[in-house]
Structure formats: structure tokens, C-alpha cells
């Protein structure tokens, strides 16, 4: 209640200041108008840079499109533009009456917004394929190139720019009028973005920033969402641009103009704890390198992420062998197995395989990572995949979920051919994978991580812009409870210990009601004493939620106790398969692990 009251007081004070400003500080009307505009710039930069991770140095480009469009409209309705600009707008014969001026403004504002959005769409097609610093530098170039063009183009006033003074002014002080336009725009922008971030779309663009690959693996269509983001960015700044044509400096092509749009997050009253740039949260990144080699290289990042002692402590707190509050057989309804498509779990040999890999071969530049692999995973089972380092296990996983094309062979999931589908399409069919290194959205809270992972299969464009449905949040809470993270639901996911992040990742995957989960070394890097809790959750996900599991695991002891059937790869080929104890005693498997002489 106090928080809400505080917020009401804060917003009320801001509104009051906004409305009364010009009368209290009449000498600073223009500066205050600029303040509101800067807020709009910051908000609009934030949607692309802060929220989506596309850090732009070039918002001035859209700004310029908006302001020149508006000014040219205003002038063009009354005079020949070239004559007007060659007179440098100075002489009395080119004055505007109030009516002309207002008409021009009313027409110019929406037109400016439209042109800016068009510019964003056109350039977005070319530059959104770039990531990270290339995007930043490209937008820097775009902004300055546009500024230099404007500075050289006589038709729009070249270096002197355009200004459209109204004279004689019948509307009183135009500064005050423009001030209120800017203020109203700031309010609109603020409300608009608050609403935007409350929708699925808002979370989706966050997810893109945190990890595009992960977002895709979860079934988000990233390119579509990015397009929206740039479009939004296109919208607000140029619209506002039209308003303040009066102060001449804002109209002149300004080589440093983008700086203004860069004032990041002037205000962020939402209290979202996460809107730091992606780069700041180094915790869960840098894990791209395999195994120990990677460890040396990203040591600094991992050290920065905090030591393991605190982590271990936290792990113990959250990973009791069995969560006493969730009795195994008395799950809430939302957690009960959903047996839609399959019609219940089959038994033994009567049913066909859920996942069927036949004759899959995949080579990377001459090195055959998978050679004619065939295997099956039955619905409702837990199947293991083992093999020495470099035997091609992860490659096989990646082939199945669509990270790369296979050279030959077929991968069928519930009878449907997967080998030509891309990652999001596979994910939407209920086949999900997790990674050796956790891929959570470190800057979002646990609940947000869960919500963004929710099934997007049926969500259309419109639904993206609706608020989160209640039942999604409820289910998020239930699943967090299921893995024992309920108490941590409001904490930043990046602040969790490694073991907890693994559990969160499991819960996120379960959010999608997957038909089948493929887990890549779920216990890697977890303290042996904490593995039990994870194994327990996996077993229960299988028995109680009816999720089929396909598990790569290095900890043989675990896999022997977890799975019912195991396949062993060696040198990219299927070496053996059978029940764990059979495979364990297979001399060929032993040889593969010990290294042939």
C-alpha cells in the first residue's frame, strides 16, 4: 500500500510540475520543453537499446527524418520550399499566419512519424541482421551520414537548417504551446511504453537481449519481434521532433545529435531491477567454450560472477532431497500430466518410438561428428546418451533440435520429419533442449524467466500485445515450487547459484508443457551432494508430468540410476545400446572410455 501511495505522490508531483512549469519558471520554458523531449528520446532509445539489446547510436537519423518532414510540410503548404530556404527563413515575406502554421503542424506531425517509421522499416531490413557492435557502429554511420547529407542539401536549408516562426503570433507565446506539446508527448510515451513492457511482447524483446539463441530455442520468433522494436523506435522520437522546431539548434543537422538520444533511462520508475545492458551481466556468458579450456579463458567472467562458497550455501538451502510442501502424489491440478496428444503413456514394445533417429550423418569440414546414427526414444521413457569426449553426443542433440542441417538421414518426432525444421519450429512441436551451460535470462527475475518461456505456439501478433494471462503466472509459480525455487521467484535469475540456475532452466523448459526434454549434462558443474535434488526433480517430471527425457550425462553413476535405456556413442558412431547394466558390462564400451591402444 505504501509503495502505491508513494507512486501516486511521485506521479502526481511530476504531472503537477509538468502542468505548472511554464507559469512557475517562465524563463525556462524552452529548457523544460527540452527536458520532456529528452525523456521521450530516452524512452524510445531504451526500447531498442536497453530492452532489446540493439544499441543504437543513430536515433538522430529518425529524429532528422521527423523534423525535416514536419518542417517541409509546414513550409510546403504555403511557399515554395527552395525559395523559403534560400531566403534562410529570415525575411518577413515568408511569415506564417497562425492558421497556416497550425495546419502545417497538424499535418506535419503525423507525416513525420510515418516517414520515420518507413525509414526504420527500410533500414531495419538491412541492418537488423547485424549484431552487437557492428549494429552500433552502423547506426552511428547512418546517423552521421544523414546529418552530413542534410548539412549539404540546399533544398532543406543545408547548414543553416529550417525554422518556421509564426508571426504575428495569435496563439500567445509559442514556446508555451510547444512546451505543452512536448509534455503531452512525454506522458503519452511513458504510458505507451509502460503498457508495452507489460505485454508478452515486452518480455519477448527482453528475452532477445538476454540471448537470441535461447529465445529461439524457446520458440520465440526473434526477427519478427525485432522488427516491431525498431518500428516502435521509429515512432516516438520523430513524432516529437516535429514539435520543437522552434529552438533553432534542434533543427540544424547536428553532428553530435545522437548523444541526446543516448541519455539512457532518464527515468525508470517501473522499478524493474533488470534493465542493465546485456553486457553488464557477465555471469552466465562466456560459456561457449567446451570444458576446461573454456574455463581458463572465461575465468575472469566467472570470478566476477561470485564465488562458489556462497553459491553452495544457497544451493543447500533450496535443494532439499524432497520439498516437503509438495507431496509427490498430491500435485495441484495444473501440474498433473497433460495427456493431450499421445493419449496416455504407452507400454513396452506395443508403441512406436516418440523420437526416431535413423541413419543421421553430420560432418564438420571433413570431421565426421555423427556417422549413421540410429536410435529411438519411447514415449514416457528416460533414455540416456553416453560416450567419451568428442564422441558426437552434443552434435546429435543439436541436429535433432535444428541447430544445423544434417548431411543425411532422418529425424522423426511423433511421426513428423524434423530434419528440415529450424529451432523455433522444433521447439513449438514440444521438443525442447537444455544446454551444458545454463542459458537463463540473467537480468530478469525468476518469474519473468518462467513467463517468457511459456508456450508461444498459439500466440498471434495480437496476443503478443496483451498482458500476461493470470494462469501463466500461476503456473510459473507452481513450477517454481515444483523445483524448489518459489522463495526466489522475485530474485534476479543471474544471482542464483549454478545449481539453482539449472533447476530454473528445468522449470522454464517445463513451462512449455514439452512432450520431450533433451537435457545436455544436467548435473555438470553441480556439487555431487546437490545432484540428488536435481535427479529427483527429473524423475518426478517424468513420472508425474509425463515428460519423456533424453539425457546426455557424464556422471555415469547418475545415468545408471536414472535411465532405463542407454545408447553409447564413440567416435561419432553408435557403439552399443541396451539396459544400463548391459552397456556397463559391454567390453567395447569400456574400451571406448579407456581409450583403445
Amino acid at each position: 500500500m505504501n509503495a502505491i501511495a508513494g507512486r501516486v505522490v511521485l506521479y502526481g508531483a511530476i504531472l503537477l510540475f509538468g502542468i505548472a512549469g511554464p507559469y512557475v519558471f517562465p524563463a525556462y520554458t524552452q529548457q523544460m520543453a527540452s527536458l520532456w523531449l529528452f525523456i521521450v528520446f530516452a524512452l524510445s532509445w531504451d526500447v531498442c537499446g536497453g530492452q532489446m539489446g540493439y544499441n543504437s547510436f543513430g536515433n538522430v537519423f529518425f529524429l532528422g527524418l521527423g523534423m525535416y518532414t514536419c518542417a517541409v510540410t509546414q513550409v510546403g503548404l504555403v511557399y515554395e520550399v527552395s525559395e523559403y530556404t534560400s531566403a534562410r527563413g529570415g525575411s518577413a515575406e515568408f511569415a506564417f499566419t497562425s492558421g497556416e502554421w497550425l495546419t502545417g503542424l497538424l499535418l506535419g506531425l503525423p507525416l513525420g512519424a510515418v516517414v520515420a517509421v518507413l525509414g526504420a522499416v527500410v533500414f531495419g531490413m538491412f541492418i537488423l541482421a547485424m549484431r552487437g557492435h557492428y549494429f552500433a557502429i552502423c547506426t552511428l554511420g547512418l546517423g552521421i551520414a544523414a546529418g552530413e547529407l542534410a548539412a549539404g542539401w540546399d533544398w532543406i536549408g543545408a547548414g543553416s537548417g529550417m525554422t518556421t516562426p509564426m508571426s504575428p503570433s495569435a496563439l500567445g507565446d509559442t514556446n508555451v504551446l510547444l512546451y505543452y506539446l512536448a509534455f503531452v508527448l512525454a506522458v503519452i510515451a511513458f504510458v505507451f511504453f509502460r503498457w508495452l513492457y507489460s505485454t508478452r511482447f515486452g518480455l519477448a524483446i527482453n528475452a532477445i537481449r538476454d540471448g537470441e539463441e535461447k529465445a529461439e530455442a524457446m520458440g520465440l520468433r526473434t526477427t519478427r519481434d525485432q522488427g516491431h522494436g525498431l518500428g516502435d523506435r521509429g515512432r516516438v522520437p520523430r513524432r516529437c521532433r516535429g514539435h520543437l522546431r522552434q529552438p533553432q539548434d534542434l533543427h540544424r543537422p547536428d553532428r553530435r545529435g545522437f548523444l541526446r538520444c543516448n541519455v539512457r533511462r532518464l527515468d525508470d520508475p517501473h522499478g524493474h531491477p533488470r534493465r542493465q545492458g546485456h553486457a553488464v551481466g557477465a555471469g552466465d556468458r562466456g560459456g561457449d567454450l567446451p570444458g576446461d579450456e573454456g574455463a581458463v579463458l572465461d575465468l575472469p567472467a566467472r570470478l566476477a560472477a561470485g564465488g562458489p562458497r556462497a553459491a553452495d550455501r544457497a544451493d543447500r538451502g533450496v535443494l532439499p532431497d524432497r520439498d516437503p510442501r509438495v507431496p509427490a502424489r498430491a500435485l495441484p491440478p495444473a501440474l498433473r500430466p497433460r495427456r493431450g496428444r499421445g493419449g496416455g503413456r504407452g507400454r513396452g514394445g506395443e508403441m512406436s518410438a516418440m523420437l526416431e533417429v535413423s541413419g543421421v550423418t553430420k560432418a564438420f569440414g571433413g570431421v565426421v561428428a555423427n556417422d549413421d546414427i540410429s536410435l529411438q526414444v519411447a514415449q514416457g521413457s528416460i533414455v540416456g546418451l553416453i560416450g567419451p569426449n568428442g564422441s558426437g553426443k552434443t552434435t546429435l542433440f543439436s541436429s535433432i533440435v535444428g541447430y544445423h542441417p544434417v548431411d543425411s538421414g532422418s529425424i522423426r518426432f511423433e511421426g513428423e520429419e524434423l530434419s528440415r525444421l529450424r529451432v523455433p519450429e522444433v521447439a513449438r512441436r514440444g521438443l525442447l533442449r537444455t544446454f551444458q551451460q545454463t542459458r537463463i535470462y540473467g537480468e530478469m527475475t525468476c518469474t519473468e524467466n518462467m513467463v517468457i518461456s511459456a508456450d508461444l505456439r498459439k500466440a498471434g501478433v495480437l496476443e503478443l500485445f496483451r498482458a500476461q494471462p493470470r494462469d501463466v503466472e500461476q503456473r510459473a509459480g507452481e513450477l517454481l515450487e515444483f523445483v524448489g525455487l518459489y522463495e526466489k521467484r522475485r530474485e534476479r535469475a543471474g544471482s542464483l547459484s549454478f545449481g539453482q540456475q539449472k533447476l530454473l532452466e528445468l522449470a522454464m523448459a517445463l513451462m512449455n508443457d514439452p512432450r520431450m526434454l533433451m537435457l545436455d549434462e544436467p548435473t555438470a558443474g553441480i556439487n555431487p551432494t546437490l545432484i540428488n535434488g536435481l535427479i529427483d526433480r527429473l524423475t518426478r517430471a517424468n513420472t508425474e508430468l509425463g515428460v519423456t527425457l533424453f539425457v546426455i550425462e557424464h556422471n555415469m553413476r547418475v545415468i545408471m540410476n536414472l535411465v532405463g535405456h542407454v545408447y553409447c556413442l564413440a567416435h561419432g558412431q553408435l557403439l552399443a545400446d541396451g539396459r544400463p547394466d548391459e552397456v556397463k558390462n559391454d567390453p567395447r564400451v569400456l574400451d571406448a572410455y579407456l581409450g583403445a591402444t
Partner: protein, 299 residues
Amino acid sequence: MSSLDILVQAPIFNLQLIIEGLLIGAIFALAAYGLALVWGVMNIINVSQGELVMLGGFVAVYFHGAGIHPIYAVPAAAVFLYIVGYLLYRLVVFRIVGRDMFISLLATFGLSIILQQLMNQAFGSDVRTADAGMGTQYLFGSQITVGEIKVVAFALAIVVGAILAWFLKRSRLGQAIRATAQDARAARVLGIDIHRVYAQTFALNAALCGAAGALVAMAYTVHPYFGLPYTVRSFMIVIIAGLGNLPGVIIAGMLLGIAELYAGFILGTQFQLAFVFGLLVVVLVWRSQRLARKRQFLE
């Protein structure tokens, strides 16, 4: 259109543009070489590259104002900028090594603005030059004019670049720099202090920029706000040539110089910078599309 007509009807004029382009392109290449060095070794794109060039230029301007022949400013600017670069590393840049590249972009961008404003305070916002007092050569019956200082600057740019290349190849520190760039992990295992290598790399890059800037001041002009185009040119050259490709950098630098002069001549000099930045966008789009084609996708 009329400027195009000139090029067609007086072909000798093309030669004028090409020569001028080659001469200035060598200086572009010098700054690009430094950018590539820092990029390759530290994985940082130094956006303040152009400001370092301008700072070197103002050293030459200062020498000229003090009555010293600006040619002496070339080594002096290199030494001065070496110190500046070393301090910048120890104050700022070491914090961003190994971080996300966008952090390094923001940080060096901030550096560039600080340098810009400091130069503006110290030297004023006039376009300056350090007149070396050299004449002009007239070739082909006066149809082509070449400022002697531009030729001297070109030659000095080649010399400075060669010295750095030799240093990287032969000296112990240079070898450590190359080793770190090729395999930082292996370098650490051999006991190389990577942060010392980084500091030296950044300082050397600044020295290189200083020398290039002194040449710019003598042959062309400097201004506190003219730095960014040099950064962008360097970046483009490295993108086109590829990291660690010295001959490629020289060729790309000279091609860029020629392209710029043609653009300035055909479009009008007021659009020359618009061309540079527009070309940057085009080059980046070209690069991303080429990469996209390379990537394997099912469809």
C-alpha cells in the same frame, strides 16, 4: 553532371584525383593499422582513434606556432601520444578489456568526446594547419598539381608503418604482442603479462595515431571535431581488409582515399563526409549479408 563531364573530357583530371587519393590514403591506412592492432590484440574497437589523430595534429600545429618546423612534430607527437595512450590504458581502457565489445565502444566513444572537448578548449574550434612551407609540383605541363608536403607525408606514413611492422616482427615486446593476439591463453601459460602487453599495444597505437596526425596537420587540416571521420575510415578499412592483413590495409586505405576524392569531386565537397559515413553503412551491410550467405541454414 558537369563534374562528371570534366572527368570524361579531361581524363588527365582522373590522374589528379587518383594521385591525391593515394597520398591521403596512406595516412588513412596508418590510423587503420593502429586500429587493427588494438582490435586484434585486445578485442577492442577504439572509437577515440580519430581524436588521437587530431591530438597528434595539434602537436604539429603547436610546433608550427612555436616556430619549430612541423616535421619535427612527427616523432614528438608519437612520443607525446605514446604517453597519452599509456595513461588512457591505465586509467580507463584496462577496465574494458575482456568485457563485451559494446562496453568498449561506449567507453572509447566517451573518451573521444572528452578528448574532443579538451582540444576544443585548448586549441579553439578553428580549422588549423601546420604549414611546412613547401612548394607545389606541376606535372604534365601544369595539368596536375601535387603539394610537395603531401608527398613527404605519404613517404613518412610509409616509413612509420614500416617501423611499426619491423618492431612487431623483431622486438621482444612486439613478439609478445603478436603472440597474445594469436593465442592469449598460450601467452599466459608462457608467463607473458597480458595486461602489460595490452598497455603497450594501446600506447603504441596512440603513438601511431600521433604520427599520422602530425602528417595530417602538415598536409591537410585538423579540427577538434574532425576526429570521428578518421575513426570511421579506419574501421571501414579494417573491415574490408580483414584483421591482421597489412597489405590489405594499405590497399584498402588507398582505395578509400581515391573513392573519397572522386565522391567529393562528383557530389561536391560538402557531401564528402556524408559519402564516408554512407559508405560505412554500405560496407557493414555488405559484410553482414556476405556472412549471412556463408552461414548454413536449412530452408
